[in-house]
């Protein structure tokens, strides 16, 4: 599974990446976390507010730092 964090390098993106990592570990999912920082690349996902969370190329959240427990169900859904 590939998790992408969309955001131009703000503190929130770091926090979101950290939470995603924790969630993946809790769920026992082998995920690769990638940060996308280029604004054009970010916009090519169609999102306007960062940070954005993308799981396997699908946008699941924008404009918020989700907690690990909020990310877990999204990961489960994506791996199902």
């Amino acid at each position: 599974m590939i998790i992408k964090i969309l955001g131009s390098g703000c503190k929130k993106c770091g926090a979101l990446a950290e939470n995603a990592k924790v969630a993946a570990q809790t769920e026992g999912i082998n995920a690769e976390i990638e940060k996308v920082t280029d604004v054009v690349a970010i916009a090519s996902y169609g999102i306007m507010s960062t940070p954005g969370l993308v799981i396997d190329e699908k946008v699941v959240s924008t404009g918020r730092v989700l907690t690990a427990s909020e990310i877990s169900p999204l990961l489960k859904e994506a791996s199902a």
Partner: protein, 336 residues
């Protein structure tokens, strides 16, 4: 009743108490005469820095709370349902409350355009967003007065509506980078799931983030303001920017456009200029030039639009703020 309002205005917005306190500090604490050159500069610097940071924190907090109800996705949905001049006006108005910094102009531009919003509407939004925001209005009221603040807003909105409409008329849709139209539209919107606690913590985060981003500009701006206030000879300033000099507005524009600063850093400079006898219009033009057009945001926009459209955008906004400067200079006796 009016006395109460004036008192509230003086104490809360102009922070007369703070000015008095700093006078005490400068005179008794540092042994400087507050009306002397050095004492005056020190007073201007301390008072303005503290005042701006207090206003900045309170304003950004409350405005961010309101903004959390208007994420760009929602703005786009609202705008998509309107047409014509009404859509432009709404775009200009929403531009004042949608969270915006020059770094988000590209995602917004792509997001709006790929969803099929006309260029006219998108540009009305892009012009009004950095130019007019709620924080700048209250700051203007604090430093100048309410009629100037309201006039600034109205004129900023008119510029945004007219500028956007004009860009729409020119039919420059072909001047947008092709990939923009092919970008997917994600209507993902967290708005419904955000709790009040999250909005509050969002507002708190915004204050910290913006303060961290602008504190240096504020210090530099107030520093320049203090220097203009007490060290640069009035003759020099009025020769260059005086109210009776026809070129003053042009000089202010040329100086302001490449500069990149927040409204919080620009206001103290405008304040000091007006105190030195520079026309109100000239000072406002300078502020608008600094905030509305900046090199970094132009470089970013260049990635999504082709040069002719960028040039039209810069041309229209520049012409607009120059006109505003002359209009304000000619009518400033109505506001002061």
């Amino acid at each position: 009743m009016q006395d109460v309002f004036i008192w509230l205005n003086d104490q809360l917005l102009r922070m007369q108490w703070l000015s008095d306190l700093v006078t005490l500090l400068v005179r008794d604490g540092m042994g400087l005469d507050p009306v002397s050159r050095v004492g005056g500069s020190v007073h201007f610097f301390i008072y303005d820095v503290i005042k701006i940071f207090i206003l900045l924190s309170v304003l950004i907090f409350s405005i961010s709370y309101v903004q959390s109800y208007f994420p760009p996705e929602r703005t786009r949905r609202i705008l998509g349902q309107r047409q014509g001049l009404w859509a432009n006006t709404l775009a200009a108005l929403l531009g004042t409350i949608t969270p915006f910094c020059s770094c988000s102009s590209i995602p917004l531009f792509i997001g709006f355009t790929s969803a099929g919003l006309p260029l006219a509407v998108t540009f009305s939004f892009l012009i009004s967003s950095p130019l007019v925001d709620l924080a700048s209005v209250i700051l203007l009221a604090s430093i100048f007065n309410w009629s100037i603040a309201l006039a600034y807003v109205v004129i900023g909105l008119v510029l945004a509506v007219l500028g956007g409409t004009l860009i729409g008329r020119l039919q420059l849709e072909g001047q947008v980078a092709a990939f923009v139209y092919q970008s997917p539209v994600s209507d993902h919107d967290n708005d419904g799931t955000i709790s009040r606690r999250e909005r509050l913590s969002y507002a708190g985060d915004q204050v910290r983030e913006i303060a961290a981003r602008v504190w240096l500009y504020v210090l530099i701006g107030v520093g320049i303001g203090a220097a203009i206030h007490n060290w640069i000879p009035e003759d020099f300033i009025s020769a260059l920017l005086g109210q009776d000099k026809w070129w003053s507005v042009l000089v202010a524009t040329v100086a302001g456009v490449p500069m990149y600063a927040d409204i919080f850093g620009t206001l103290p400079i405008a304040e000091a200029l007006v105190e030195k006898g520079v026309g109100l219009g000239t000072a406002l033009t300078f502020m608008m030039a600094v905030t509305a057009l900046s090199l970094p945001s132009m470089i970013m926009l260049k990635r999504v639009v082709k040069l002719p459209l960028l040039a039209v955008f810069i041309g229209i906004v520049t012409t607009g703020i120059i006109l505003i400067g002359y209009i304000f200079n000619a009518t400033s006796h109505l506001f002061i």
